[in-house]
Symmetry: C2
Subunit: 284 residues, 2 copies
């Protein structure tokens, strides 16, 4: 299976694809989310792995937008802990390092490390894995980069300092997108996109069927729709309590459909739980 992702080889998205699907897949790096989403239609990939939310940064709005524009379906999810490491040339110690490159968000997530190493020069880069590639392709042995473990492995870098991010609770949830649904027998989590007109009670009428049928609401988010004043796009993740309750989910969907101007099932899949380097925090 060929799996497209946004980023350079060694990126967190690639690590998530391998965590979910095993080491035998072929990963297809793409520069932008837009080009990652078009990889399947171009015949360059069979599936796409995209980040959908991060505990520190929130929802990945661009991915939600592209998901709505596309006809791809969520068939699985996986949760990756985002651990930042200081990566450089083998044999060099942290004390010898003079400059550290990475994406500004990664630099900002390692404030404590920079405070205790105040003489380090911060070099902003467009990509975490890409900054490792650039450092190791260079000649400055005292330059380092901040990225995930996979980037170090991919470019032959050494981890000079481990887990240097401020918060241990940095997780990203990724979804696997495919052209057609391939539902696992124990799939009980469903992602939905719905449109509501903006009147008091509209959201309520659409949520009521889920509550009535014992379906849990895991996530809800509203977004204004441009060019359509007073209409809202809602993204929901719901989960039925048992496999028997899947019928309840169907019944809830039918009732919710009547209360919305548009309702689309983005996918039915198995919820990621703790284990295999995963953490359930995001889905709890």
């Amino acid at each position: 299976m060929r799996v497209a992702f946004q980023g350079e080889p060694g990126a967190f998205s690639e690590a998530a694809a391998l965590q979910l699907l095993g080491e035998r897949i072929v990963t297809v790096p793409r520069a932008t989310f837009d080009s990652a989403f078009s990889a399947i239609a171009e015949g360059a990939a069979d599936a796409l792995l995209a980040p959908i939310e991060n505990t520190l940064a929130g929802s990945v709005v661009r991915v939600y937008d592209l998901l709505l524009e596309s006809t791809l379906v969520i068939t699985a999810e996986t949760i990756l802990p985002i651990e930042h490491h200081l990566i450089g040339f083998p044999g060099v110690s942290v004390e010898q390092i003079r400059s550290v490159a990475s994406h500004p968000m990664a630099l900002a997530q390692c404030e404590r490390f920079f405070r205790t190493h105040a003489d380090l020069r911060r070099i902003p880069a467009e990509d975490t894995a890409g900054s490792v590639r650039l450092v190791l392709a260079g000649t400055d042995r005292f330059a380092a980069a901040i990225a995930g473990r996979r980037a170090a492995e991919h470019y032959g870098g050494a981890i000079l300092a481990e887990d240097i991010q401020d918060s241990a609770e940095n997780f990203t949830r990724f979804v696997l997108l495919r052209p057609v649904a391939s539902t696992a027998p124990n799939a009980r989590k469903m992602s939905l996109a719905m449109r509501l007109s903006h009147r008091p009670g509209a959201l309520l009428s659409s949520l009521e069927p889920f509550a009535r049928h014992g379906v849990n609401l895991l996530k809800i988010e509203s977004r204004p729709i441009h060019g359509r004043p007073w209409e809202y796009q809602f993204f929901l993740d719901v989960e039925s309590e048992s496999l028997e309750a899947l019928e309840a989910l169907e019944a809830a969907l039918a009732a919710a459909r009547a209360a919305t101007s548009q309702l689309r099932v983005l996918g039915l899949y198995v919820a990621a739980r703790a284990g295999l380097g995963q953490d359930a925090s995001l889905t709890k």
Copy 2:
């Protein structure tokens, strides 16, 4: 009034503060959101202006987190169109420019510009306004940066190309935070934070009172709470349809309080509408 903001002088947050409060305020730049939030307690500022959501990037999760940790109150909001300009030395033309510095998010939001100027070198920076400062402090006359108009004015740069972002629908909503509420007579918008235990129907019971009392729901967002499995933090923006309906809002609040494990009013304020360079898209 002294108003703290995150960023360098000339940042979009500073422009938003001036748009909301006029040119006579004193702005207090702070390097991080954390230090901006502590500026009032330190006696360095009387108020704080913080971005809370962007149409392209979504909610600013860190600001929501800090808002929950603090006792500051939202007293006003303002919506700023995010317009990216190419800024450089006066007298230089776009065709002469060789390199363009900015925050990676700003670089990414100007893809079309870079596609039509394919020989430009992209230089990632930690800050949009800061990249203008660095370019103009340098000696390379053919270097430029991408930032807002205010950064050009502040550092004496020239706008070499106007409005080069891909999407015209790039708006950021900012909130003004103060130690005590100072409610305007026509304030009808309210921001709320509430905690719900995760059982079917919990959200529904908390929203029902608003619908029953004719209160509009403008925004809703759920976030998992770390260390508290199956409990959720919800952020809501609601608006009563008329001033008379403020009583209804109070009644709805009291009923919602009974249905939640925790409910906090983050502020009651006047909703930002179109006009004064503002756009209602985000609040519609």
